[in-house]
């Protein structure tokens, strides 16, 4: 027994007691000391850093990672301080991941706490971790390296596809058997007299203000004749004097008035083991507004009896400390780059609405389904402009492949698209849109639009029939169709279909140095809701706006053969396509915001009127512009009863006979002229011997 007593017999500390195998605990009647468990806080920045590390250096490596957590004394009467992980918790150099960290220097708000992270690659391996033995291992480190009484353990599963971070903390604490008993505990203000209190506050503030000691959370307090001093733990032996109080102090994260925080747990075990003390006076240091607060801080006394087992070095103590449950943090909104791209893109439009255009309807724009017939110079530009306006649903149709001359003028293609014979344009365009903005719902369809004046060979009839049907389906299933092809005749069938289905159609057409952008009027028929199965016509009463063909007096014919090279190649000044495309999209946006939609009347720009009642301005029917004059006109044209594409005659015939009618019109263009009475009209005109002024004839231009 004698060999076990403390070495200074004159120690006046009543709490110094011998410990030996015959030691029996002398307990004051008291209760089991209960510690307020440590809580964790993981800053978003930590997950960002871990994700980068995993993607850049760790890969699938699951070895344990040394890291540093931070805590500080409680500074709020109702909120405990938490063990915090920040981006800085992980070593800056990925090569240091496995070696134990050098002691990181903190500051007064960041007292460093070493820990270990086990980051798993799958949920299954996360669940399969042996949490009991991991805790034991970590607790053993506390045993071995008593300079570090506070450690933590965290296991995690970082799902970098969904940006979910599942994690589980443990703060290992040795279990004392029998447990420590609390003899008394009260606020420091009540435990000390005024002079002692003032002195203690002063020295603690000094300790906290010095960069050498501010991140040292365990220390000694010696109070002698109302004068307090703070010392490092290692000075304990030198501090044994008569007539003084000795308190074991620590930074207490807990805010509780009647219970000490978790760090005291291992601290008491260590004190009992190292200094052979059975009754331990402790000081839970807490602060407020950066200064020691003795009202929040606690002073108490605990009775500790170290169990026998600890004498045996190979015994691993029982440990507790896992938090009750793991936590899952979802960070997709702030980390998923695709989501960030979407919210950033929306921002521009929302800003526009907020600052200048409160009536902007972003929902309509993001839900409208646009069909683009043609993925060339016009198609690419229209697609980009639609995307800029927040349109997310687009289908592009084109029969061709990307040619070597395309990328410079057609803004969705790059050099790579031309290689190996060239990708299909529609497909390449859709893919390009998604590369620019991942949230785009874009599809590309390779399809040839059947055209009048290009007779169908017998063996092609079925295919052309299918193509017609597919085009019909596409137009029906979209809200808006853009006619952006490079010939006049290719616009006929789409125009007819849009008129028949009463769908919004917007045409853009280019000459060498001039352009036309127009919106087609509504279709000629409306289905009467109740009785008739045959639709009635609107022609007589209401003046519909005209379509692309309404002002023509000849049916569309083959315009591509027998032309000179420059006419065939549709060479245009490069500036035209972007201008016309932009106007086409602005026209659509205006139409979508107009209360009458497709039935909106056409307006003409009027220099007298300073602004229209609509916030987006007037809604023209046709815009014709010319580069040599830098001029632009808005025009208005009504539908023609003899139109080969949108007149009620033609549309009714289509309704009656369907694709058969279409095929007939394709193979025999004069059929359309007969049907609509154009033939008659021309006959009667000829009979007058008038000079037929071909003011609207487009034979010389490519497709105006």
């Amino acid at each position: 027994m004698a060999s076990e007593t403390s070495s200074t017999p004159s120690s006046s500390r009543a709490s110094a007691e011998p410990s030996s195998s015959s030691y029996t605990a002398i307990r004051d009647p008291g209760r089991i000391l209960q510690f307020d468990p440590f809580q964790s806080l993981v800053d978003e920045g930590f997950w960002h850093r871990l994700s980068s590390l995993k993607l850049d250096s760790l890969g699938l490596d699951q070895s344990p990672i040394s890291l540093t957590g931070f805590y500080a004394p409680c500074s709020h009467s109702e909120v405990s301080n938490r063990l915090t992980l920040l981006a800085e918790s992980l070593p800056p150099d990925p090569k240091q991941l496995e070696s134990p960290l050098e002691r990181v220097h903190g500051n007064r708000n960041r007292c460093p706490v070493p820990g270990t992270l086990y980051n798993m690659n799958t949920l299954e391996s996360f669940k399969a971790l042996d949490r009991v033995s991991l805790l034991k291992m970590e607790a053993q480190k506390v045993e071995e390296d008593s300079a570090v009484l506070l450690r933590f353990l965290v296991i995690s599963f970082a799902d970098l596809k969904k940006w979910n971070f599942l994690h589980w903390f443990a703060f290992p604490a040795v279990v004392l058997d029998p447990p420590a008993m609390i003899l008394n505990i009260q606020s420091a203000k009540d435990a000390l007299n005024q002079d002692e209190g003032q002195s203690l506050s002063a020295v603690m503030n000094e300790w906290r203000n010095s960069s050498l000691t501010t991140d040292v959370p365990f220390f000694l307090i010696i109070i002698s004749s109302s004068h307090a001093t703070v010392r490092h733990l290692k000075d304990w032996e030198a501090c044994q004097h008569d007539g003084q109080k000795l308190l074991f102090g620590f930074y207490d994260p807990s805010c509780r008035a009647t219970n000490p925080g978790w760090p005291l747990r291992n601290y008491l075990a260590f004190i009992s083991l190292r200094y052979n003390i059975g009754k331990i006076q402790f000081f839970c240091y807490r602060e407020k507004h950066g200064f020691a607060d003795l009202g929040l801080s606690l002073v108490g006394e605990a009775a500790v009896s170290p169990p026998q087992d600890w004498r045996e070095p190979q015994n691993i103590p029982k440990a507790v400390g896992w938090q009750p449950k793991p936590k899952n943090i979802r960070l997709a909104e702030s980390m998923d780059p695709e989501r960030l791209a979407v919210s950033a893109a929306d921002l521009n439009l929302k800003l526009m609405r907020w600052r200048t255009l409160p009536s902007l309807d972003l929902n309509i724009l993001s839900n409208v389904k646009c069909l683009l017939l043609g993925a060339g110079t016009l198609g690419c530009q229209v697609a980009r402009m639609l995307m800029a306006w927040g349109v997310r649903k687009m289908t592009l149709v084109d029969s061709g492949k990307v040619a070597m001359s395309n990328p410079v003028r057609q803004s969705l293609y790059t050099f790579d698209d031309c290689l190996n014979g060239g990708s299909f344009k529609a497909v390449a365009a859709a893919s390009s849109l998604k590369q620019i903005f991942p949230a785009m719902e874009a599809e590309g369809i390779q399809l040839s639009i059947p055209m009048p004046g290009h007779p169908i060979l017998a063996n092609e009839v079925d295919r052309v029939h299918e193509d017609c049907k597919q085009l019909w389906n596409l137009i029906s299933s979209h809200d808006v169709t853009f006619l952006l092809t490079d010939t006049r005749e290719s616009r006929w069938l789409p125009t007819l279909l849009c008129a028949s289905e009463n769908k919004v159609a917007i045409t853009a057409a280019l000459g060498f140095d001039s352009y036309l952008v127009m919106r087609h009027g509504s279709g000629p028929l409306i289905t009467v809701s109740d009785q008739t199965d045959s639709p009635s016509t609107l022609d007589d009463g209401v003046q519909r706006l005209g379509c692309y063909f309404c002002s023509d007096v000849v049916a569309p014919i083959d315009s591509t053969s027998n032309r000179t090279l420059d006419q065939q190649c549709t060479v245009t000044r490069p500036g035209l396509a972007p201008i016309a495309s932009a106007l086409a999209v602005e026209l659509l946006v205006g139409l979508l915001h107009h209360p009458n939609g497709i039935h909106a009347p056409g307006e003409i720009a009027n220099s007298i009127m300073s602004s229209s009642k609509e916030p987006l301005g007037i809604l023209p029917h046709q815009i014709r512009g010319s580069l040599p004059q830098y001029s632009q006109l808005t025009l208005l044209g009504h539908s023609s009863n003899s139109c080969t594409a949108c007149s009620s005659t033609v549309v009714l015939e289509f309704k009656r006979r369907g694709i058969e009618f279409v095929l007939q019109a394709i193979n025999h263009p004069t059929y359309l002229e007969d049907l609509t009475g154009l033939t008659e009209l021309m006959e009667s005109a000829k009979s007058f011997n008038l000079d037929w002024d071909k003011e609207t004839s487009d034979d010389d231009d490519a497709d105006l």
Binding site: E44, R82, R131, R265, K325, K350
Partner: protein
């Protein structure tokens, strides 16, 4: 006649930062102090005017609603019951807010960035933050022409933070500081205090009453 446009230069911003910190200390508040955090990337470069941000952090807000980010499917049944662990009471958690003031070189005005998170670190979405805002803040957000909260990349921390868009700031600062003397440039050292007194209301930051004295 020179008309002040409501903006301030980077060096005027720096002066105003020091002035704000001083006033905040003097006026006395239970809120923490502002701390200037310089741009670490610049290092020893001398052109570090307005390079960094002014931060006030760990502002607690009592959360009224129930929240939890716990995973129910995994439980800790291996660990034995420990009589020395205090069972925490299930009282409502706190929300924690951080506010940063940065200088916008594009608009030449200060910008407020802020974020909120639960006590375990889980970030709050804007809808959650709005639940913490007092009624007058929500009213200002809905009705005002210049109060527009968006999410932007924090210029120094490179993570999305919420911010009040700065494009209207010059206009209303002009109105605030020199509506009675439109042709004079007001002394700008008090700019940030004046600005913060107004902005703070929108985000529910409790600005101490004495902060904005007439400049």
């Amino acid at each position: 006649m020179y008309q002040w446009d409501g903006t301030l230069s980077p060096s005027e911003f720096d002066i105003s930062v020091a002035d704000l910190c001083e006033r905040w200390r003097e006026v006395g508040t239970s809120l923490p102090q502002w701390v200037w955090l310089p741009d670490r990337a610049l290092g020893a470069l001398s052109c570090n005017v307005a390079a960094g941000y002014l931060a006030i952090e760990n502002i607690y807000h009592q959360n009224a609603s129930e929240e939890g980010s716990f995973e129910e499917s995994i439980s800790r049944d291996e660990e034995p019951f420990d009589e020395a662990t205090l069972v925490p009471s299930n009282k409502n958690d706190m929300h924690i807010y951080d506010y940063h003031i940065l200088y916008s070189f594009t608009f030449r005005v200060p910008v407020l960035y802020f974020r909120g998170y639960q006590s375990d670190g889980c970030p709050l979405k804007l809808v959650d933050i709005e639940k913490d805002l007092p009624a007058y803040s929500l009213k200002l957000l809905r009705e005002s022409k210049w109060a527009f909260i968006t999410q932007e990349d924090h210029p120094y921390l490179h993570r999305p933070w919420y911010t009040l868009h700065p494009c209207g700031t010059g206009d209303w600062m002009k109105f605030l500081l020199c509506s009675d003397a439109p042709n004079k440039i007001p002394p700008l050292h008090g700019y940030l205090s004046a600005w913060l007194s107004v902005i703070g209301q929108v985000v529910g930051l409790r600005i101490p009453i004495g902060l904005f004295k007439s400049v």
